[in-house]
């Protein structure tokens, strides 16, 4: 039984990281209908910036974590301003391809730095003894990761519900013309959406960097797993992203725990999110919590 609980706890931990990464993704889609395929790269960039600040400049890790979030905030905003502002109104395929191009550009820039090829690890600042309760173990880094994730998710939910800027972002995602007519600056909102996405990406990157160590290729593949999470949750639902993130984390852990090794299966945790994705899309074509556009073929 404790094996099962261990899997659940690990699943929630991993899932909340997925949720945090998916959050940024959904933010961008919700306000500007853009599928940002370069999100994984922004997560990696955020992680490396945090590392550089901690190890090369010597700032304490908590401070550099926040600083990397701020830097990535502005980075993402400038990316939107430079590359995507021109593409408002273009067909969706163009916008997706631009983000794919951005993926390669950010890749290239990271290769220019020494981070492209090499293994790095954050200095350890938390006690190494794991927390154990009821036969389940959790490391301090994972615990801190989960706490930060939930704080950020709570923060974002409050932001969207209560603050003026958040409400204007929701307005823009609902109907661009109507929001323009009441005086909301739509391009500014787009920039802000990307910036907040960058914020959450840097947070996710910092947490992942602490848990697994920094290797660009690992972070690369992490960026791909965000897509099934987002789609299962529904592209325009923040709540959906959180739920789907945790579900995916749980599914992966259960697959690794119960399926691997039997019937000669290996690495099922990698493929199961995609299979689950296809199954869910069969029944709910707009994801679990996405807005359902009534269309029949």
């Amino acid at each position: 039984m404790s094996y099962f609980f261990q899997l659940v706890i690990s699943g929630v931990v991993v899932g909340s990281i997925y949720a945090l990464s998916a959050l940024g993704f959904v933010l961008i889609y919700k306000s500007s209908r853009v599928l940002n395929l370069a999100h994984g790269q922004i997560i990696a960039a955020g992680a490396f910036i945090a590392y550089a600040l901690t190890v090369w400049v010597g700032i304490h890790i908590a401070v550099s974590f926040i600083m990397s979030m701020i830097i990535t905030f502005f980075l993402a905003m400038s990316v939107e301003r430079v590359f995507l502002r021109r593409l408002i109104g273009e067909p969706i395929i163009s916008v997706i391809m631009v983000t794919i191009g951005l993926m390669s550009i950010i890749d290239g820039i990271i290769y220019l730095t020494p981070f492209g090829a090499g293994n790095f690890s954050f200095p350890e600042f938390l006690p190494k003894v794991p927390i154990t309760f009821w036969g389940v173990s959790l490391s301090w880094t994972q615990m801190v990761g989960v706490i930060i994730t939930f704080i950020m998710i709570g923060g974002f939910s409050w932001f969207f519900k209560a603050s003026t800027v958040g409400i204007s972002m929701r307005a823009v995602s609902d109907d661009q013309f109507a929001s323009m007519s009441i005086g909301i600056s739509v391009p500014k909102v787009f920039g802000l959406a990307w910036a907040t996405a960058g914020l959450s990406a840097a947070a996710a990157g910092g947490i992942i960097g602490n848990i697994t160590g920094l290797n660009f290729n690992v972070l690369h593949s992490f960026g791909i797993i965000v897509f099934p999470v987002v789609i299962v949750g529904g592209l325009d639902s923040i709540f959906g992203a959180i739920v789907a993130g945790i579900i995916m984390g749980l599914i992966q852990q259960f697959a690794a725990g119960y399926l691997d090794g039997k019937w000669g299966l290996h690495g099922t945790a990698d493929v199961l999110p995609y299979i689950i994705l296809l199954i869910i899309l069969l029944f709910k074509p707009h994801g679990l919590f996405g807005i359902h556009e009534i269309e029949r073929v």
Partner: protein, 409 residues
């Protein structure tokens, strides 16, 4: 009289002309080699230092005139770990008429195997995959294959097991041909009498967290995990194990798991990635580590300093690897020349297969001699066990040669 003078002049002139051309011929040839590897892209943390090792050694050979008047030219190209690009680079090198080829990735070595056989060119890849030697005559492994290393580790476990019954071992391998070959050979060794019990083989995916797997292994009573994969998955594994407080702090500690790994599943890069979770990790390879002092270490430092490389590179184990393969290639060329043969693919192949017994080659970079023969195309057969203590790998014991490797051949 006048005719005679003219004839004499003509004879002298033609003599001088012939002399002029023949002087050109003895001015020194250039032997060409090719290397296609991942300087960027996946595994470039190993590929980048490797390429610099080869480059520096070749420069050294030319500067010190180790081959007399002849020079060696090595074309180094980046393929980003993509097999298509490697193949393209190989075709390009063939157009340049290379006589020796250094390859890198397992995938491309296997894909190009039929080409190597057709072109009859000796190849020394950075991949120690035993499958490279199947159906091929021209591929030589620099050191013991991954399979031999895994068998060596398994042997060490069997020999040092103090409990009753058999040691329970699990293997953690890379989900590709690179990972699987080692476990086939460990299985064969067990069939040939190796006294361990292989509880489970885990092919890892891109997991962020190995808790489930570790708990499962623990519940099956596994005490030793032999890893054969690249560094990042091992680092994730070790970090997960550390958070579950599962890492043995001494060899074979009861109730805990001792983690061990073959060549690419360890090294200073692993310590950089896993931090304190890599404490007490056992690693086996045939190369000398820069943390062990000796003539090899000094020579490597001197080489790095001579060509302006930084300290991090000078201490990198992949820099050692690169130097070593270049050393073997140049040595083969030197021997061919010493025998009075022209340096061609065929003569180099002959030199490679006769590098055994009294003709074994002792580069300073490895723990044992490089021996090749028609039946044994694994270079250095001896392995050295290292253990990570205080963030550095230290030698443990003397170099040894696993016996079961010979038994399963």
């Amino acid at each position: 009289m006048r005719n005679r003078r003219i004839t004499f002049m003509l004879v002298v002139l033609s003599f001088l002309l012939i002399l002029g051309f023949s002087v050109q011929a003895v001015a020194g040839e250039t032997y060409k080699m090719g290397l296609s590897l991942a300087i960027t892209g996946p595994t470039s943390d190993a590929g980048d230092p490797y390429s610099k090792g080869v480059e520096d050694y070749i420069k050294y050979v030319n500067d010190e005139k180790l081959l007399g008047d002849d020079k060696v030219e090595c074309f180094i190209r980046d393929d980003g770990y993509k097999t298509e690009v490697t193949k393209r680079n190989f075709e390009d090198f063939l157009d340049e008429n290379i006589v020796f080829y250094l390859n890198y990735s397992t995938g491309s070595t296997l894909a190009l195997k039929p080409d190597f056989e057709e072109e009859k060119i000796p190849v020394l890849p950075a991949s120690f995959h035993a499958g490279n030697l199947v159906d091929s005559k021209y591929i030589f492994l620099p050191i013991a294959s991954y399979s031999s290393q895994a068998v060596g580790l398994a042997e060490y476990v069997a020999n040092n097991y103090k409990g009753n019954g058999k040691a329970k071992v699990a293997m953690f391998i890379h989900p590709s041909a690179f990972g699987r070959a080692s476990y086939d050979d460990v299985k064969k060794a067990i069939d040939a009498g190796l006294n361990i019990e292989l509880v489970e083989i885990v092919e890892h995916g891109k997991d962020l967290d190995n808790t489930a797997m570790l708990k499962r292994l623990k519940s099956k009573g596994v005490q030793y995990v032999i890893s054969h994969t690249v560094q990042p998955p091992v680092a994730t594994l070790l970090k997960s194990a550390q958070s579950l407080d599962m890492i043995a702090s001494t060899y074979g500690e009861e109730g805990k798991i001792t983690f061990m790994g073959a060549h690419y599943a360890g090294g200073p890069g692993l310590i950089a990635l896993a931090g304190s979770a890599a404490e007490n990790y056992y690693w086996v390879t045939s190369y000398k580590l820069m943390s062990a002092k000796g003539p090899g270490t000094d020579a490597q430092h001197a080489l790095a300093k001579r060509y302006g490389r930084d300290d991090k590179l000078a201490n990198d184990s992949n820099y050692t690897n690169g130097i070593m393969v270049a050393q073997v290639a140049v040595e083969a060329m030197r021997r061919a020349k010493a025998r009075g043969n022209k340096v061609t693919r065929a003569s180099l192949y002959e030199e490679m297969v006769s590098m055994n017994g009294y003709n074994a080659y002792y580069p300073l970079t490895t723990v044992g001699p490089v021996t090749y023969s028609k039946t044994d195309r694994e270079g250095v057969d001896t392995l050295q066990l290292y253990v990570a203590k205080d963030g550095v790998f230290h030698e443990l014991g003397l170099p040894f040669s696993p016996e079961y490797v010979k038994k399963i051949k």
